[in-house]
């Protein structure tokens, strides 16, 4: 592998593995702090427009002990981790935490923050199809904007917001391009690396992330793609972590040729539309345009067809369902798209994702069996 690619991938891994350093660097450079972005969807552009660094809070991989006081064992793994980190004061340097509440767990989590940062909550409308939903969410964003201005002391102008929207749309486009490119170069970009590029996105100012991703894509394209002798899969779920889990994919020759993970491609699926409407309204429209996600109501149940389409387009051999432990919305979607897979003869395997896990042998055996039967 070309040295340049290695260096770039190392950079992504380092950033993905050390959000605290990203915050410190941003503060040193701009004099501005960071704002936590809770899963799953928030108008990050608003935070970006203040010059503060939006930092994704998608859990960690610690032993869960303190969180047990506040959450029963049947709360999802990622929120157990977030609660543990809250209790340890890890998030206390954040100027604020932005909370969307599209599931029951998040509704509760937003009201039981154990850290010291102020919590800024907003609500997505459940019925997304109506024009009234756009107007409602626009109003929610207007309230959030005001709260953010209060916390940061920065007035968010329309010009600044338009600039941020442009930066984010460019970043999303670059990431979609990267995802497609990674599918062609699994020898060069491992499952762990692919994830690192996505995860670094959660801790970097987006124009910088875009620049780094473009540099990586240019370096990768300089090499000719090699035929892949392993198998190809599409992954779906909330997230696919920790790295120990991703290493299994690399070890078993399973290339991730596309993902439908909330932490990864769902974040870059829908751009903020262009148009003459006010920026807050266009930001709100993203929620209406969102598709294929367990927390965004879809009466047509198009997630299965979407995944099967991804399988067809990428030539994947199977779908690996990364089921977030104790995530109701994801569990409720599963039987529906599983049946659709069965009808169409699409192979799939469900594995359970627990960020606390340190031993992956059982999943290894199951993935190995999948590979052998493909």
């Amino acid at each position: 592998m070309e040295e340049n690619i290695k260096v770039l991938l190392e950079q992504f891994r380092a950033i993905a593995g050390d959000p605290r350093k990203a915050m410190a660097d941003h503060l040193a450079e701009t004099g501005k702090g960071a704002i936590g972005m809770m899963p799953i969807y928030a108008p990050e552009e608003l935070v970006h427009a203040t010059g503060f660094l939006p930092v994704g809070l998608w859990g960690g991989s610690r032993p869960v002990t303190k969180a047990r006081t506040y959450l029963p064992p049947f709360a999802c793994s990622v929120m157990q981790q977030v609660m543990e980190l809250e209790c340890e004061g890890v998030y206390d340097d954040l100027a604020a935490v932005v909370f969307s509440v599209p599931c029951d767990t998040l509704k509760c989590m937003s009201q039981k923050w154990k850290g010291t940062s102020p919590v800024l909550v907003f609500t997505h409308p459940q019925n997304r199809g109506l024009e009234a939903a756009n107007r409602f969410l626009e109003q929610e964003y207007a309230i959030l904007k005001e709260k953010l201005e209060g916390v940061t002391g920065v007035k968010i102008t329309n010009a600044a917001l338009e600039r941020s929207i442009q930066i984010y749309n460019e970043n999303r486009a670059a990431m979609r391009e990267f995802s497609a490119l990674a599918a062609q170069y699994p020898q060069v970009i491992s499952a762990v690396d692919r994830h690192a590029v996505f995860k670094a996105r959660l801790f970097m100012e987006k124009s910088r992330h875009t620049a780094l991703v473009r540099a990586l894509m240019e370096a990768v394209r300089a090499e000719a793609p090699q035929p892949w002798t392993g198998k190809k899969v599409v992954v779906t779920g909330i997230l696919l972590e920790p790295n120990g889990l991703l290493e299994l994919f690399d070890r078993l020759g399973l290339a991730i040729v596309a993902d439908d993970l909330a932490q990864e491609s769902r974040q870059i699926r829908v751009d903020v539309p262009d148009g003459d409407e006010a920026p807050l309204y266009r930001l709100a429209r993203v929620w209406q345009k969102m598709y294929g996600c367990s927390v965004a109501t879809d009466t047509q149940k198009q997630r299965g067809p979407m995944l099967m389409d991804m399988v067809r387009k990428t030539g994947a051999d199977a779908v690996v369902v990364a089921m977030m432990k104790f995530c109701d919305p994801e569990e409720w979607d599963y039987p529906i798209y599983y049946k659709q897979f069965e009808v169409q003869g699409v192979r799939s395997l469900m594995i359970e994702v627990d960020q606390e896990s340190t031993s992956f042998e059982q999943i290894h055996t199951r993935l190995q069996s999948l590979v052998e039967t493909l």
């Binding site: 959450l71 009201q111 109701d328």
Partner: protein
């Protein structure tokens, strides 16, 4: 009726009659049954009769949905130690007032947004405190319901805030509104006994 001490109403009877409220709310026989039930309670009260016939030792608020597969067990454990349930926010969720003539359904929609569990922690605490006061309760029993995250994940915070305000003891137990596998009678019994002891101690002037 549960505001009277001793209480003519056994709170678990409301759980029993909930089937009617939930499934047959608009039927005349639901109304007839409830009126009869209310009249009987009124009669009992006038005669000075109480639900536990002199055996009422202390009173609790039940927070959460009933453990339907173990309705009998959850009731009898309390009854055996003389603890009567005189407060629960759950049956009240079906006690909504709105303008039935409003064809836009706006009034009905607005009424449902007031349902305590659809609101926020502050309101949940306020609603439960009021229920405890009205029912003259000595403690709270929190149902950590495996099948309802929304009604469970704020229990710790609710309990802490309420205890800070009124100093009354509480316990929590693991259960489920539907799946019998998630309820252990022995754990429930132990927790209820602990609550009983704390309430007795508090009544005796000791520290809760």
């Amino acid at each position: 009726m549960s505001r009277y001490k001793p209480s003519p109403l056994n709170g678990f009877d409301l759980f029993n009659y909930m089937a009617l409220v939930v499934c047959a709310r608009s039927r005349d026989y639901a109304e007839i049954t409830f009126r009869k039930f209310a009249d009987e309670l009124e009669e009992k009260y006038k005669k000075g009769e109480s639900a536990f016939k002199g055996a009422e030792k202390n009173r609790v608020t039940w927070e959460g949905i009933a453990v339907w597969p173990y309705l009998g067990h959850t009731f009898k454990t309390l009854k055996n130690q003389g603890t009567i349930m005189t407060g629960s926010a759950y049956p009240n969720m079906w006690d909504l007032t709105y303008d039935a003539e409003d064809e836009s359904l706006h009034s009905m929609a607005e009424a449902y947004t007031r349902t305590y569990i659809n609101t926020c922690l502050d309101n949940k605490v306020a609603v439960l405190r009021r229920i405890m006061e009205e029912g003259q309760c000595d403690g709270v029993l929190y149902h950590l319901n495996r099948s309802c995250k929304l009604m469970s994940f704020l229990n710790v915070e609710t309990a802490e805030r309420i205890q800070e305000q009124n100093g009354l003891p509480y316990v929590s137990f693991d259960g489920d509104q539907t799946d019998p596998r998630n309820f252990a009678p022995a754990q429930y019994d132990t927790r209820v006994q602990a609550l009983g002891e704390m309430m007795e101690q508090a009544a005796g002037g000791g520290q809760a």
